[in-house]
């Protein structure tokens, strides 16, 4: 036992004229804080603000007009549809992968985790490309589907969904795996020893333990699914009103010099990003102990 913890002062100096040996001079601190705030404002806050400034530069009326353009409306619907398919798919996968990896021991678990993380290190453009090469109408599988069933995957909605699933693949799994590994198998073993079935154990014991981490993963997965650009751009074909998602529509407006329309639609996505950040921070602040340990980059 030591009483260090209770007597160790918080960074501040308590005796005027002296400074704790483990912190910096007050003016050094002020300069460093100022520099940080400046950098963050310049690199992060300013771009975010400029989206809204550009969107409203010709007034609220012009801003709202964007959302009555049919192309913009269909882009919003398509984005919602894609996310509504991709997120549940990855949710089921994330839970299954976490159950297999975190609650059982078998050789190669670490390797499997690396494989799950793989899509993070693949360029979105390459992610789109791999599906074109496999499922395009002149590729073996895609050709077969097109000739026999008249199903188009590339330059159509299924391709967009596939690409979105690919780029958001690891989000939920990598939130759940470390947390469920930390929690161990004690609770599940207890439930089973009390006579619970596998499903009951999962539903009444495991799920409540990981619900916040699950929400956290879904949140990040959804933000990326709605915002994905590169992978979707490559294989959407950009058929207006049919295969154009919101980020793609932003690009189309922008390239047509419809600046206000582009930024108005973009501000909707920026709003989504802000909401995501707020809920994410709230989850970290409120349920930090029930999320995976450490803040990991995505």
């Amino acid at each position: 036992m030591s009483d260090t913890a209770s007597t160790l002062p918080e960074l501040a100096t308590y005796h005027t004229g002296y400074r704790s040996p483990v912190t910096e001079r007050p003016h050094t601190r002020t300069i460093l804080i100022g520099l940080t705030v400046l950098l963050l404002c310049l690199f992060l806050v300013l771009p975010l603000l400029s989206v809204f400034v550009e969107a409203f530069q010709q007034g609220v009326g012009k801003f709202l007009e964007t959302f009555s353009i049919p192309d913009a409306r269909s882009a919003i619907w398509l984005t919602l549809l894609v996310a509504a398919i991709a997120v549940p798919f990855n949710l089921v996968f994330g839970i299954a992968a976490a159950w297999a990896i975190a609650k059982h021991r078998f050789p190669g678990r670490a390797f499997l985790i690396s494989l799950i993380d793989l899509p993070f290190s693949v360029s979105p453009v390459v992610a789109g490309l791999v599906y074109i090469l496999l499922l395009g109408t002149n590729a073996p599988i895609g050709g077969f589907l097109y000739e026999n069933f008249n199903i188009r995957i590339i330059f159509a909605v299924p391709g967009i969904v596939l690409a979105t699933i690919f780029v958001t693949f690891p989000f939920i799994a990598r939130e759940l795996i470390p947390l469920m590994q930390d929690q161990g198998t004690g609770d599940e073993e207890a439930a089973i020893s009390l006579g619970a079935t596998g499903w009951q154990t999962f539903w009444y014991v495991t799920l409540p333990n990981v619900k916040w981490a699950l929400l956290y993963g879904v949140l990040l997965c959804n933000a990326r699914a709605m915002g994905e650009f590169g992978a979707v751009a490559v294989l959407s074909g950009k058929l207006r009103g049919e295969t154009v998602t919101m980020p793609l529509q932003v690009e189309l407006f922008y390239n047509e010099y419809a600046s206000v329309a582009a930024f108005s639609l973009a501000s909707l996505l920026a709003g989504l990003a802000l909401v995501t950040l707020i809920i994410k921070s709230w989850l970290e602040w409120r349920f930090g102990d029930q999320l995976a340990t450490g803040t990991r980059p995505h």
Binding site: L11, L112, V125, L129, G136, G227, L269, A270, G294
Partner: protein, 279 residues
């Protein structure tokens, strides 16, 4: 008779179901498509592959992508360390907001970031107009690409260094001080070496992300062949020409580099675990 089991026996059910599903899904979504890419590269004979990956346009794009990504990631190491330090060590109003906003580049769709950065740094933009009178152009030059890559890579170093710094044992710093080390010596000789593995990891992740980045760059880049054309954009051009084998070849090169970076990150972690353990 003793049976050799793949997994260690346990009372927890559902292994077969979840494990098979995980592997199946992984193969369908990730592994088969990626393998397919390498297969398509083999459609090319060796000479055409070489001529693609030594063509001047490819070489220029490769150099641009890798050099700007490396410079951006290095810059991110410097400011990432500073930001992580300030967020962990100092208490100031607005700290929590600043901490939350670090993740903006992860949350903001890249296309939105791209047009926003272009609006700011274009010659008539709020920052671009400050530099324009001096003949310095940011948007539509490699400087603009660099700005975009700094933006999207900013969280990586901060988020990999932050938890390590958070858990850094105050006693270690005090020990250095009692041994006579000045504050700056403590930071450079004791703390930075300890943070090195997380710095390297953050650098590698920021670099990998920057090399593959597309959405936030293409708006600000100008996309002039051999000058401001990045590798992913070259792939897109090849695709638009329906030159699939060439696109596949470029993608294969990029993908291989990503795997090497991924390997490097894992080796860094294994190395630092072995060397330093969890003291």
């Amino acid at each position: 008779m003793k049976r050799v089991a793949f997994r260690q026996p346990s009372v927890i059910p559902g292994f077969r179901l979840t494990f098979s599903f995980t592997i199946f899904y992984l193969f369908i979504i990730v592994l088969i498509p990626i393998a397919g890419l390498y297969f398509r590269t083999f459609d090319l004979d060796w000479n055409s592959f070489v001529s693609i990956v030594t063509g001047p346009r490819f070489i220029a794009a490769l150099r641009l992508s890798f050099v700007t990504s490396a410079v951006a990631a290095l810059f991110n190491v410097v400011i990432g360390l500073l930001i992580a330090w300030v967020l962990v060590r100092y208490e100031f109003p607005g700290r929590k907001v600043m901490d939350a906003i670090i993740d903006l580049p992860f949350a903001l769709p890249t296309a939105v970031a791209g047009i926003a950065l272009t609006a700011i740094y274009a010659p008539n933009g709020i920052i671009g107009s400050l530099f324009d009178p001096f003949g310095i152009r940011i948007a539509y030059t490699s400087l603009g690409i660099w700005i975009a890559l700094v933006f999207i890579g900013l969280p990586f170093v901060v988020r990999s260094v932050q938890p390590v710094l958070q858990d850094f044992n105050r006693e270690i710093e005090e020990a250095a001080a009692t041994l006579g080390a000045r504050r700056i010596q403590t930071i450079t000789r004791v703390m930075l070496p300890t943070l090195l593995p997380s710095i390297l990891t953050g650098f590698a992740m920021a670099f990998a992300r920057a090399v593959g980045e597309y959405g936030s760059v293409i708006f600000i880049a100008g996309n002039i062949p051999r000058q401001t054309e990045i590798l992913p954009l070259l792939i897109v051009f090849r695709l638009e020409e329906f030159n699939y084998p060439a696109a596949a070849a470029i993608a294969a090169v990029m993908l291989t580099v990503s795997f090497l970076i991924l390997l490097a990150i894992n080796l860094i972690q294994v190395w630092s675990q072995r060397r330093f353990g969890l003291v």
